[in-house]
Amino acid sequence: MSIGVTIRYHNILRRGAGLDEEVLRLPAGSSVADVLSQLVTARAALQSLLFTEAGDVASHVVVFRNQKLVTHDALETRLVDGDEIKLFPAISGG
């Protein structure tokens, strides 16, 4: 059993990924953290953009799941089929 999760990249993460969006197939029960790990397996350029040298998710990566902000202490949140993940660098302003 697997789930499909749509990943949408923004800003320098889009450049790093080399595409706007993609659909990942993951095992049922996968988490946001699992998504991030799988992304860098397929796209090495994302490694330094998403993770620290120590292997932790970089704190300046902002994650939305279905238009809701996912804080880094909730990266183990389980995903379901059809979820959308948006990834941004933590730029601010206005």
Binding site: N11, Q67, K68, L69, P89, A90, I91, S92, G93, G94
Partner: protein, 650 residues
Amino acid sequence: MRRHVPQRGDRVAETMTTHPYKGYAGQWLHVDLTSGLLESRPYDRGMAEQYLGGNGFGARLLWEHMGPEVDPLAPESLLVFSTGPLCGTLVPNPGRMEVVAKSPLTGIYGDSNTGGFLGPELKFAGWDAVVVVGRSSHPVYLAISDSTIELRDARRLWGQTTSATEHLIRVIWGDQAVKTATIGPAGENGVLFSGIQTTPQRSAARCGLGAVMGSKLLKAVAVRGHGAIPVADPDRFHQVAVDLHQRLRANPIFEAVAAHGTPGIVSMMDALGRFPTRNFQMGSFPDVEAINAEALEARAFVRHLACFGCPVACDKLYTLPDGPYAGTSLRSVEYETLNAMGAAVWNADLDTILEANRLCDELGMDTISAGRAISFAMELWEQEILNLEDTDGLALHWGDRDVILTLLERMARREGDFAALLSRGVRQAAQAIGRGAEEYAMHVKGMAIAAQDGRAQKSMGLAHVTSNRGADHLKAFPTIDETGYPDEARRRYGEDYLPEMAQPLATKHKPYLVKDGEDFGAVVDSTGVCKSGGTFVLAEIYWSDVAAALEAATGMEMPVERLKRIGERIYNLQRCYNVRHGITRADDRLPRRFSEDPSPSGNARGETIQLKDMLDEYYELRGWDKVTGWPTRAKLQELGLEDVIEELDL
């Protein structure tokens, strides 16, 4: 009339030797357009020590010379162009200057900050500030070539666009390096949200300061300078500046900010539900991908550009390669304009947004307030409050591209009754229209709310109501809690303030965030550096860094506590200026929509904003009376503002 104002000769030499601080030119230029008087005045030592420069200098002059009895568009009104002691130096992003006047849009304190190259050029010419009063008998422009000052006939420039005006002045002058501040037809025609355009295509856009300039028949200020800015301790200053540059470049967000500039936040703000859509009915735009940074880059990006001394280079040059506006070329396309001419008016056509941006730049109008006037009108049309008889025959359907561009042209020229009405801003227009129109006027104290939604970021809602120039994100500029990114909050405020300080929907600690941001922002805007290149965006440069830079540049002893006191003094003085104009706590409020209509969008879905508790805590932190919202006698005494106490009879 042509005057040689002795600068490094007898009179000013005396000024320079009595003014103890470096980093300043040591003098400001007083211009009386009624009499033609052009005069060098010494930069007062106390002014530097108490207010630094920039908007501190402007606020103090307004307090002393512009009481409630002075109409912002009367000859007696002051218009202040003011740099600061770090402007034009080696620290990062030192290209900013402040324009200060009483706002004809809001009737209270007004200022607008602009980047580019004009501020440094003014200091290189030997002037910290230019203060204009009076009204000329015919259109003129002020030409400053180092110490030679001239009021030149501008009758042939009157009616020209901002870029044409700059071009013609440079041709006449015979020097393409001349920097200018110009108004377009909107400022000439008294549009209450007209701005002042500065080299190169930057804008002191908000508060209607272009109308103040136009009321004086002052078409432009043109500057050429060849001097230098001495600093007190060159070795230490160099060390401080290099350290700040290196830290900025090492910041993990630096590349992302540099990649797209402010358009880079469009999609994130949309996901947060903080991207006003259809006049704040929604906080997310279904077609956001058509107008975000990536779309802009793909459609029109040419190259990166930077303001004076900026390592970030958030500015970009854009050109439309084809289509109805083929050849349109402009820079400084900002997040705010993508919202105001895009989502806010339900327009997903990027070409139209760029053309609207170009029109506003050329005609000399604030894109935010101009766009908000259109979205306000479109909602009134949707609500059937307006009909064709009211609108001079325009059907104001959401997203109608022709209507957007037509209204911009008409507003700038005040052509037709309806456009003339909108050119007074949403508050005055709503009051004149009646029939429930005020419900849809999204403003605070007469200033249209920019592209933030307090329901999606609670600190921003508070910041909108406590800003001294009416609704504004840039006074407190609470960037720390926009994205949930904790590192900046931790670096500035420590672990004790987490996690709420970094959470956009949390209210805890936000009065402190706003108060601290306002005080720090007052200092930043008084030194001549940028809020988007390290002090707020990137949040790398903070109180101790600015204090170190000021100390090395000026020679003024500047412990952090003293600098904080200066920021607090400036902010309190501006508030007192507004108190003198009748502002109370009752004016510190958002439109009903924000407190009663839950956001339908993004991360903010279901959220409203309730200000009472945050405001109580904010006034308490400020030492202001919670009932009136006025600074207390004790607070003003603490800040050394005894003359203000006397004037307000506190």
